[in-house]
């Protein structure tokens, strides 16, 4: 099963290396990993998407907790959480194709952020499904380059009322 794990880690390269090394050394999967600064100075927030059976996921959580430079581990799976991914997609586009691509972008609430005589770059945010969908739609025009951030996530603040 897919798990989204949110970490607060010390803000240095060592943290990333230790965590990535732990995953590879123990044969755990990384579907995506994204890291950037957090609300607190000196700490980064990292979102790791991984998969495995319950025992493996339990080990992953425990091993992450063991890393000295990991301050907090929250496995968001099973809780309500919001998540997004950002993608930049550079598509081949002749001037005649442009408007069609722009229409597609509009449907996905994506933006055109760069334009050249032969290509344009689309910025899309959303769930992985949505990003996959827009990429498939743009594929026929010819994808020049695609860059995706991987998932970032936060726990939903209001978890709703259970009746």
């Amino acid at each position: 099963m897919k798990h989204t794990i949110n970490l607060l880690v010390e803000n240095n390269v060592g943290s990333l290396l230790r965590i990535a090394g732990m995953f590879s050394g123990r044969g755990f999967n990384i579907d995506s990993i994204s890291v950037g600064s957090s609300e607190e100075e000196g700490l980064s927030r990292m979102t790791i998407v991984t998969h495995g059976d319950d025992e493996i996921i339990e080990q992953i959580n425990k091993q992450l907790n063991k890393c000295i430079n990991v301050v907090k581990v929250f496995d968001l799976t099973g809780e309500a959480f919001v998540h997004r991914e950002l993608a930049l997609i550079k598509v081949q586009a002749t001037p005649t194709e442009r408007s069609e691509i722009m229409q597609i972008a509009e449907v996905f609430r994506a933006k055109i952020i760069d334009l050249s005589p032969t290509a344009l770059t689309v910025e899309a945010t959303g769930t992985e499904d949505k990003i996959n969908a827009i990429i498939s739609m743009l594929q026929p025009f010819g994808l020049k380059e695609v860059s995706r951030t991987g998932r970032i996530a936060l726990k939903r603040e209001f978890q709703g009322v259970t009746v």
Binding site: E10, G14, R18, G21, Q63, N65, K72
Partner: protein, 581 residues
């Protein structure tokens, strides 16, 4: 958490409050911080990146530096020092090759959770990454085999990093920590503030077991008729031998230990089953196979213990106490886990324990011990390796510190030396590092000058680090070494005999083994070759009288002898092979 310090240091610290802080170099801060941590011994080897630090060491009187002969030996010596005392072993080596030579020793300590702090010299900060002379990315190389590591580029942070490292190395599940020291940092100066508040937000090991779980445990243990306590290295690391012993006696349960758990429970006690696992006793393995309750105390269900996981202890409810949550339920599902330090958990649990109705079980076990004892056949023509260990156990009354190397001799030590005290059996269990025995014994003897310390090694492994005899001679360390010389890489030979139709591929050593007596004597050690029981007894008597240099006994033993019982890899109790009667 405040760094602990001796009263004198405390005093000087308060004195310092009145005067302006001292301006010290990184090298001086390094030494001050070590003294503050209570370090008395450094195992090290100098080089370009550390030459200025070594100049300060030259004048330093508060701690001693032992020049080892190879950096690998330095790490194993520090490891032996740590295993024998519980204090962290400290290693200091230069950059590049000095640092890379420590890798095996660090990995060995990591696998067995041994507290160690390794300082490596590094090229000046501005040259890092330039492929400078004697540069190695030692942090990168050792990241998977250290509990944590630091690059100390900023002299202002050095004291803090050192104290954090000692804290990390020695608390929770212990382990090695590495600190990389760039040369320019060691030379730069800063105001030194000795009192340090350790703040590690990501590191708060659980020491006390949860009150509720301990209560649950007391209930969980009730009603068992066939309990077994399975004790691992965690009990030794936690200094919990007394608590483990009380636990087993109160519960009226037999105790088996892992290789690293030996010494946590006196083997002279009727409740002792000796070691379990691949080369464990028949009755320990039988008891684990049949028990209805298995209590793992600081043990991690390693594959050398469990064999085939599906068939391991199939009838038992399981309880596990460990300080490392990631060890709990990793290989074997556990019905009642307690996360915490063994000593502190047992201190809570022992007073509320109830005795099990296990008398019939203990009688059954006594019967098994009679029917399936550890055994070997003596011969008039050649010494048996087991006999050598048995003799030594008698001569030293089970009170020596025994460091082993890796191979057949290691298993014979575990089987035949009757350990009565914790921190007396030093062995590389997790990594199984040949070359560990000689330097580890040396380190233990340095740490415990009043104990008899014997390194028992194979003729193969001895030659991986035998140069540390020079270190023992250099400092008049009267550590004893016994080479169980069977002319083979015996453990591999045993597998070849049993599982590869006696094709002895690359395991015969005799044609090229040196004359170990001459080799040892050339270093300045006292040495003797031994072939008979009389000579052995004579040699033991003489070696005990030597107090000013190392001793090497080259004991020629049966080449064919095998370690039994044996449960082949991934097998289970039904596959156990015993020695012929």
């Amino acid at each position: 958490m405040l760094v602990t310090s001796s009263p004198e240091v405390e005093k000087s610290a308060t004195d310092e409050k009145m005067v302006a802080p001292q301006i010290l170099t990184g090298a001086e801060i390094f030494l001050e911080s070590l003294v503050r941590e209570g370090v008395d011994t450094i195992f090290g080897y100098p080089g370009g990146a550390l030459i200025s630090l070594y100049d300060y060491l030259f004048k330093e009187k508060r701690l001693r530096h032992l020049l080892v002969t190879h950096e690998q030996g330095g790490t194993h010596a520090a490891d032996g020092y740590a295993r024998a005392t519980g204090k962290p072993g400290v290693v200091l080596v230069t950059s590049g090759p000095g640092a890379t030579n420590t890798v095996t020793g660090i990995a060995t300590a990591y696998m067995d959770s041994i507290p160690m702090v390794v300082f490596t010299g590094q090229v000046p900060s501005h040259m890092i990454g330039n492929d400078a002379f004697q540069e190695a990315d030692i942090l990168g190389i050792t990241r998977p085999i250290t509990k944590h590591s630091y690059l100390a580029t900023n002299v202002e942070e050095l004291a803090d990093i050192i104290h954090k490292s000692f804290h990390i190395a020695t608390t929770g599940r212990p382990g090695p920590v590495l600190i990389d020291l760039p040369k320019d940092m060691l030379a730069s100066k800063t105001a030194y503030f000795p009192a340090v508040e350790i703040d590690l937000r990501g590191y708060k090991p659980t020491v006390k077991g949860s009150f509720k779980q301990v209560r649950n445990a007391a209930k969980f243990l009730q009603g068992a008729k066939k309990p077994v306590v399975y004790v691992g290295g965690g009990a030794i690391l936690s200094d919990a031998a007394a608590e483990v012993t009380e636990f087993a006696r109160k519960l009226n349960a037999p105790v088996t230990t892992t290789l690293l758990g030996l010494g946590a429970f006196p083997e002279t006690d009727d409740l002792s089953l000796g070691m379990l696992g691949m080369h464990g006793t028949w009755y320990a393995n039988k008891a684990v196979d049949e028990c209805d309750l298995l209590i793992a105390v600081g043990a991690r269900f390693d594959d050398r213990v469990t064999g085939n996981l599906e068939k391991f202890s199939p009838h038992s409810k399981k309880m596990q106490i460990d300080i490392d949550p990631s060890c709990i339920g990793k290989n074997v599902p556990v019905d009642l886990p307690i996360v915490g330090d063994i000593k502190s958990v047992l201190e809570e649990l022992n007073p509320v324990l109830e005795k099990c109705e296990s008398d019939a079980w203990l009688q059954q076990i006594a019967q098994w011990k009679k029917e399936h004892p550890l055994r070997y056949s003596k011969s008039n023509d050649v010494l048996k390796p087991q006999q050598v260990i048995e003799e030594l156990s008698k001569v030293t009354e089970g009170n020596a510190i025994i460091a082993s190397d890796v191979g057949q001799h290691q298993m014979w030590i575990a089987q035949w030396y009757k350990f009565t005290q914790p921190r007396s059996h030093l062995s590389s269990g997790g990594l199984g590092t040949m070359g560990f025995g000689v330097p580890a014994a040396l380190g233990a003897q340095v740490a415990c000058p009043d104990r008899t310390v014997v390194g028992i090694v194979g003729d193969g492994g001895f030659q991986m680090t035998s140069m540390e005899i020079a270190t023992a001679v250099r400092y008049n360390i009267p550590v004893k070494f016994i080479i169980l010389n069977n002319g083979y890489l015996g453990m591999v030979r045993q597998w070849q005999e049993l599982f590869f139709e006696k094709r002895y591929s690359n395991t015969h050593l005799n044609p090229s083994n040196p004359d170990f007596k001459k080799l040892a004597e050339s270093y300045g050690a006292w040495a003797m070759q031994v072939k008979t029981l009389d000579e052995l007894q004579d040699a033991f008597e003489k070696m005990m009288t030597i107090t000013d240099r190392p001793v090497v006994l080259d004991v020629i033993v049966d080449q064919q002898e095998k370690v039994y019982p044996m449960i082949p890899a991934n097998g289970s109790f039904e596959n156990i092979m015993e020695a012929e009667e």
